[in-house]
């Protein structure tokens, strides 16, 4: 009698073991062509919508449930491409991945860059349009923020005017005294070269290449997490080889993007 009961117990244990191993086998097999750097995560929120493309305009075609395993493949802007079981792959909003866990149960975060995180060191890239002493100008800047207050920038501008065209290439240091303000002012000091080409149709003169000192002030405002508008006034002081040095005033309107 006793041995019969123990037999039943061991049979039940065996069945349980089989069932549990069966459910373990149901977890998704990694696809054949999965890149090596794909990350396996487990969904910790009730559900995650999977879209066909990286944008809100694309339809949701699948939903990953709580406890489901997903592979993170790559990211584009604020979206991550995931691979789910049954060979489904699509795109998930990063904000929907706030609660996902790694293989050791640790919380996994996909970073969302944000200009308001002023203490983080980061690069920013910007385009601008402006007025360079009466000439229309366009510019590009590549900057790096070292501290909440201090950044450095590489700046290139081309201006096309009625009488002459100019190109400027500068290195500048920017100081933002109040980086957390919504409308944050900054001061700028820099140096570089200024190449002036007089228009050939007016007078036949040679190109001039002068060293320029740059001072300026401006204001930045953040329109979205990674997009900031800026307006700037800059004074270029050209150290010319002529009798007098030349001063150029430049106004600029542009935008910066957090890289």
């Amino acid at each position: 009698m006793f041995s019969f009961r123990s037999c039943i117990y061991s049979f039940c244990a065996l069945v349980l073991l089989l069932v549990s191993s069966g459910t373990a086998a149901l977890s998704p097999e990694p696809p054949e062509n999965l890149p090596e750097d794909a990350e396996l995560i487990t969904v910790g929120s009730p559900y995650v919508n999977i879209y066909t493309g990286p944008g809100r305009g694309y339809p949701i075609f699948h939903v990953a449930e709580y406890g489901e395993k997903l592979w993170l493949l790559k990211r584009r802007t604020d979206w991550v491409k995931v691979y789910a079981h049954r060979d489904k792959s699509g795109w998930v909003r990063i904000v929907d991945l706030q609660e996902v866990y790694g293989e050791d149960g640790e919380l996994v975060r996909v970073p969302l860059p944000d200009f308001s995180d002023v203490d983080s060191q980061h690069f920013h890239l910007g385009f601008s349009y402006g007025d360079f002493a009466g000439a229309s100008s366009m510019g590009a800047t590549l900057g790096y923020r070292f501290t909440a207050n201090l950044s450095a920038e590489l700046r290139a501008t081309q201006a096309v005017g009625d009488f002459s065209d100019s190109q400027t290439y500068q290195v500048a240091v920017l100081h933002q005294p109040f980086p957390r303000w919504k409308l944050s002012p900054y001061f700028m000091l820099g140096t570089g070269i200024n190449i002036t080409t007089p228009n050939a149709t007016i007078v036949a003169t040679e190109d001039r290449r002068d060293t320029a000192m740059l001072t300026g002030l401006g204001v930045k405002t953040y329109l979205s997490r990674r997009f900031a508008l800026r307006a700037e006034y800059a004074n270029h002081y050209l150290l010319t080889s002529r009798e007098e040095n030349q001063e150029i005033v430049e106004w600029k309107l542009g935008f910066d993007v957090y890289l």
Binding site: A38, E39, G53, L72, R76, L107, F127
Partner: protein, 213 residues
């Protein structure tokens, strides 16, 4: 009254007990309610970002007075978010004969070298209508229709011309990293090759292939 007297020793005992308990030290309570939580470990996902799009394109550009000519070039775009991207583009074409040159039969206005036109621009694009294009009943391609505009420089006839460009385009994605783009742009600049300042609208249509990396 009797009940009150009977309750007195109880109250005293309760007070004494309470005092004793608090005197016994906080460590007992501390042991009971001390947070025994493991600090949650947080890790950043190490996944690759693909926000840069490289495009090579070819098409037709009509430069006012100089006819329609073939155009080719390239562009590098950075996708800021799902709605907005910034793009730097470069293009080249060779100008044909102007109607003035053809009709008057006089010496050509520009040398061959001066007829080589190149432009570059910095633009901001807005993915206005993201969605899907259905090719068959159950086969759709992700796509977006975008508006784009910016400023740049057009260089020909030994002159630089400040140029505004704006237009519309469609991007159809074959897969995650390969797309087909069709762009229509207007390049607006002023020149004075014919003696007086003239604002020109120069339309281009171009088809491109782009790669995301």
């Amino acid at each position: 009254m009797e009940a009150r007297i009977r309750r007195l020793p109880l109250t005293v005992a309760a007070l004494l007990f309470a005092a004793g308990a608090s005197a016994q030290g906080d460590d007992v309570l501390g042991d009971i309610i001390s947070p025994d939580l493991e600090r949650r470990e947080i890790r950043e996902a190490q996944i690759d970002s693909e926000n840069i799009e490289f495009t090579t394109f070819g098409g037709v550009i009509n430069v006012e007075d100089f006819g329609s000519n073939s155009l080719y070039g390239g562009a590098l775009a950075y996708h800021i978010n799902e709605d907005v991207f910034m793009e730097a583009a470069y293009g080249e074409t060779e100008l044909g004969e102007s109607s003035f040159e053809r009709l008057s039969g006089s010496a050509p206005l520009l040398t061959d070298e001066q007829r080589e036109l190149s432009y570059y621009n910095l633009s901001l694009g807005w993915n206005l209508f993201p969605g899907e294009y259905f090719i068959f009943d159950d086969f759709a391609l992700n796509s977006s229709l975008y508006l784009i505009g910016g400023v740049g420089n057009t260089s020909f006839a030994d002159e630089e011309h400040f140029t505004y460009n704006f237009g519309v385009g469609a991007r159809v994605l074959a897969n995650d990293w390969l797309a087909l783009r069709l762009d229509f742009r207007d390049h607006v600049f002023e020149h004075e090759i014919f003696g007086e300042v003239q604002r020109t609208n120069n339309l281009s249509a171009q088809l491109g292939v782009s790669f995301f990396f």
